[in-house]
């Protein structure tokens, strides 16, 4: 590494500041607005920091809207989607890496091909199918939709992960008398755990963030998930900016928590094709 001159350091610092201001400042501004009383929200000229920070916006959100119900619904649906996706994808990806069978490569290629199917293409027939099955306006329909949408990348990511685990380890366990199942449970799964957790987190984020499936499949207010609930709150009448910004702040908190875990894996390079969208 060559040492930088003063001008180069200044230029680098400036560029990083501009990038941060563009990417992160809007989020910070949302958080600050959420903590301001109305008089400061509409102050002109606007001030950066709240003079009298308040939680009243969050209080109104809890008392006057169904935010808590939406939050609970989002949590239920996203967690169920993660569990179902992993239950299907972990054995599936293991099968795709450790066994040789007719059509294996075709299956892997088909999985990639499903990237072409945008939600808007699937949602119209999907909605009609769910209505025929009597599942429209249920959380089950949402969980199935998210699972179907996460499976391709979940299989793809876990496959690369299983491929990186040396098969010798399983074989060693099996020559020591363990069954294949036990070898997988005690040797392979622990080694693949970071990958499994990361896949689960990306599935969670996909389900947590989705708007279109929830918009079309859910009609009852008490079944709505957060993105639809917030969009409706915004469209309702006179916009209560403090409350809307508070809802945005609370929605991204779970994302921030789980994302700080996967970030290092993402930057390290695998599965950058991860989340769809």
């Amino acid at each position: 590494m060559t040492r930088r001159t003063g001008w180069q350091r200044l230029g680098l610092g400036l560029a990083v500041t501009v990038l941060l201001a563009f990417a992160a400042f809007p989020l910070l501004w949302m958080g600050l607005t959420a903590l301001k009383p109305p008089s400061e929200i509409f102050a002109w000229p606007p001030r950066l920091l709240p003079e009298a920070p308040t939680l009243s916006n969050i209080g109104r959100l809890f008392a006057q809207t169904h935010f808590v119900t939406y939050f609970k619904n989002s949590l239920i649906v996203s967690t169920a989607a993660v569990v179902l996706t992993l239950l299907l994808a972990v054995p599936g990806a293991y099968g795709l890496t450790r066994y040789r069978f007719w059509g294996r490569e075709t299956i892997a290629a088909t999985v990639l091909f499903t990237y072409m199917f945008a939600p808007i293409m699937i949602i119209i027939p999907f909605y009609i199918v769910m209505r025929t099955l009597g599942l429209a306006n249920t959380h089950i329909a949402l969980v199935l939709a998210y699972c179907a949408f996460s499976l391709p990348f979940a299989l793809w990511m876990l496959r690369t992960f299983f491929q990186s685990i040396p098969i010798d380890l399983e074989e060693a366990a099996m020559t020591d008398g363990a069954s294949r199942f036990r070898a997988v449970i005690h040797v392979v799964i622990p080694m693949a755990l970071p990958g499994i957790i990361a896949t689960g987190i990306l599935t969670f984020i996909l389900a947590w963030n989705d708007y279109i499936f929830a918009r079309i499949l859910i009609s009852s207010d008490n079944l709505k998930t957060l993105p639809v609930g917030i969009a409706d709150l915004y469209n309702a009448s006179v916009i209560d900016w403090g409350m809307i910004m508070a809802s945005g702040l609370l929605v991204i908190i779970p994302v921030v928590i789980v994302f700080s875990y996967v970030q290092k894996f993402l930057v390290a390079g695998w599965g950058s094709g991860g989340v769809k969208g």
């Binding site: 002109w44 606007p46 054995p91 599936g92 293409m121 699937i122 179907a148 917030i230 945005g248």
Partner: protein
């Protein structure tokens, strides 16, 4: 050694079944639906053959949705690529606090679209928005700009979309940059290559394969993007002017209640993607990619 055999297929089968019933079947059903006249809420349907498609050929709204959709996707993809690659090169340099910056910059991509939209609707607000405050006090604009009116809505939409999705490009490029052997740069330095030449002749060729995939995926996703476009344009008075193809498919189905026609728009969109992706693939694919 890999075991030959059936157990592998059995392990994949449940996942495969779900994919077939919930993804492939709806796509097939959508195609079948596009051959019918069907109200979105009632079960009756009449077979009309290719009538829906023939109608679209002469439908000015359809061609307008294609035009708007292309303007939107091409401009957002180009800007995402430039910004994403530039940011990746920057964050590949070593400096104090680099890991935190890397984490923060990825956030726009991880948050729900609805949050991205409401926070930008606040930033761009006519009366109280920070952007208009900045523009007016710096004297760039004499009066606050109506960012959601007809003349500026496309610019606002592109801004929000690029903000939301450039971290994807950044992420993929940064990961690839980290795996370029430093010897290549040392060799180029010995040969007297400056920073620009090092980028053009060392970095760029190394990035070719990852850029190939990024452009493919981002094109598919931007061309079919629904939520950002829909949420950004609703309620600003300019909805009519920003109907991309996915929005048009949605409107046909859920506002006009013509499920068959909506499905036809979606199928045309899909076929265009398949043709474009295949052409792209054969034009630009090099050895050992994918």
């Amino acid at each position: 050694m890999q075991t030959r055999g059936l157990p592998g297929l059995l392990l994949v089968l449940p996942a495969l079944l779900l994919l077939v019933t919930l993804t492939l079947y709806p796509v097939g059903y959508g195609f079948w639906l596009s051959l019918h006249a069907k109200h979105s809420l009632f079960p009756q349907q009449t077979f009309v053959g290719l009538d829906n498609y023939l109608y679209l050929v002469n439908d000015p709204e359809f061609w307008e949705s294609l035009r708007i959709g292309l303007i939107y996707s091409v401009s957002t993809i180009a800007l995402q690529l430039v910004l994403g690659v530039a940011a990746a090169l920057l964050l590949n340099e070593s400096f104090f606090g680099r890991n935190i910056v890397r984490g923060l910059v990825l956030f726009p991509y991880m948050i729900p679209t609805v949050v991205a939209v409401i926070l930008w609707k606040w930033m761009l607000n006519n009366q109280f928005g920070l952007i208009n405050f900045g523009l007016v006090s710096l004297g760039i604009s004499n009066e606050p700009i109506n960012w959601f009116g007809r003349s500026y809505i496309m610019i606002s939409l592109i801004l929000v979309s690029v903000w939301q999705f450039f971290p994807f490009v950044l992420l993929a490029v940064l990961a690839r940059l980290q795996s370029i052997p430093t010897e290549l740069y040392d060799a180029a330095r010995v040969d007297g290559a400056g920073p620009v030449n090092r980028f053009l002749f060392v970095t760029l060729p190394q990035l070719a394969s990852v850029l190939f995939i990024i452009i493919l995926l981002r094109s598919i996703w931007m061309f079919t993007k629904f939520d950002t476009v829909w949420l950004m344009t609703q309620g600003g008075g300019a909805e009519r002017y920003i109907r991309t193809m996915p929005v048009y498919a949605y409107l046909r189905t859920f506002n006009y209640y013509e499920a068959g026609m909506g499905a036809a728009v979606a199928i045309v969109m899909f076929l265009m993607l398949v043709v474009a992706a295949t052409t792209y693939f054969f034009l630009f694919r090099q050895e050992d990619q994918l």
